[in-house]
Amino acid sequence: MLNRRTFVGLATAVALTASSLLAAANDAKSILLQSTTSTANSGLFDYLLPLFTEKTGIRVDVVAVGTGQAIKNAENGDGDVLFVHAKADEEAFVAAGHGVKRFDVMYNDFVVVGPKADPAGVAGGRDAAAALKAIADVEAPFASRGDDSGTYKAELKLWQKAKVDVKAASGGWYRETGSGMGQTLNVAAGMGAYALTDRATWAAFENKGDLAVLVEGDTALFNQYGVILVNPEKHPTVKADLGQTFVDWLVSKEGQAAIAGFTIGGEQLFYPNATPSGS
């Protein structure tokens, strides 16, 4: 019978379970890292962060979103460290006083993927802009992030170089998904479209379907990652000491070696290139 006592008992039990489970969080020494989907979804963090935690006892909680959103979140003070890939925006972030200092950490590269049938005939090319031009010429479907991510910004630069007005084609052969890299690759796989992706996300992506890497090796496809401690003077809740420890470790010999050691299927995905002085 559902009497008053069972009722109150049930409610109390739910409340207690909920509060105990919820309270279990956020006690340890930890920092909040605002980063991108490419670093998280590739598995780099799953490999890298435990090494750091083991050495320092500092847990790193990762929020993985597009570069633009990560920077916005950090600007609001919602994070201790920013680890993204859009150099110009990162420098603007520091210049505006939100960050202390930017350090190069590593790079990888973007690749153009597309259906094996390759209607634009771009396979094997090394000139990314030329490949995009060819895709635009035959109006083959192209899936774009269409968000505020580092990858999208790199893609727009390439379209500019190819002198293609993608805004005019949006909704036609040019399709902006407005979502993350993986989601965009899902869309590309689903409709046999071309796409620009970072190599790490691609390597770890499991729904490749009929897609393959068609264009790679262009210097214009270079993808630089940087790390920045969020400025504690601007955002007093930033855990400056712990955050700085993480930044220091990433650019240290040890951190750099760890990054170089991350592979998927024997393939190295990120290339450390920190300069001790930062930028």
Partner: protein
Amino acid sequence: MQDFGAAFRLAGHLLVSGDPDLLEIVARSLAVSLGAVLVACLIGLPLGALIGFLRFPGRRAIVVFLNALMGLPPVVIGLLVYMMLSRAGPLGPLGLLYTPTAMVIAQAVLVTPLVAALARQTVETLAAEYDEYFQSLAVPWHAALGALLWDGRSALVTVALAGFGRAIAEVGAVIIVGGNIDHLTRVMTTAIALETSKGDLALALALGMVLILLSVGVNAAVMGVRSRAVEAGHG
């Protein structure tokens, strides 16, 4: 698509193996959504009941507004709560963003209008039935409110379940205010979103099946308690 078969096998394997990461995420999903529903009921049930049985000017407008709020997309709620809880927001000093508490708040905000609107409907029907009797006894409003909620409990349990269903299934709000942080704020729906974005559709689907089972389990448990109450004739 061979993903279905793979997903079924994977779901079975996940359940049988008792994978600790999965159990952790399941427990967190339950804790967050049950917590949110509890908060939503504490606010939404009395609120809905009051609107259901009090007569005051502007009541119809409030009912329409409340019903409309039921349709608010989770992602909008997520954004609003994010803006409140962000360090740069008015409640920033509490440091709640990217914690399970933030997720409870977001889901509570999401579910409260639903609970209130459905409770309003239930209580209004019951209040119409009780109205003259209560008047003839000159029952004070708070006693009437209590009696309506208590006597409507059978239907209100279903209301709470509807709220739970909406909470446990939504991803838009918790992914924004929780951040989908591994071992801290990752729940079933954000894990599904993550695996989907990694292209691991089989695992995503398997997690989805586990989520359905979870939902069925909670509903069955609650309905079990409820049907015993109904058998006892108190429905």
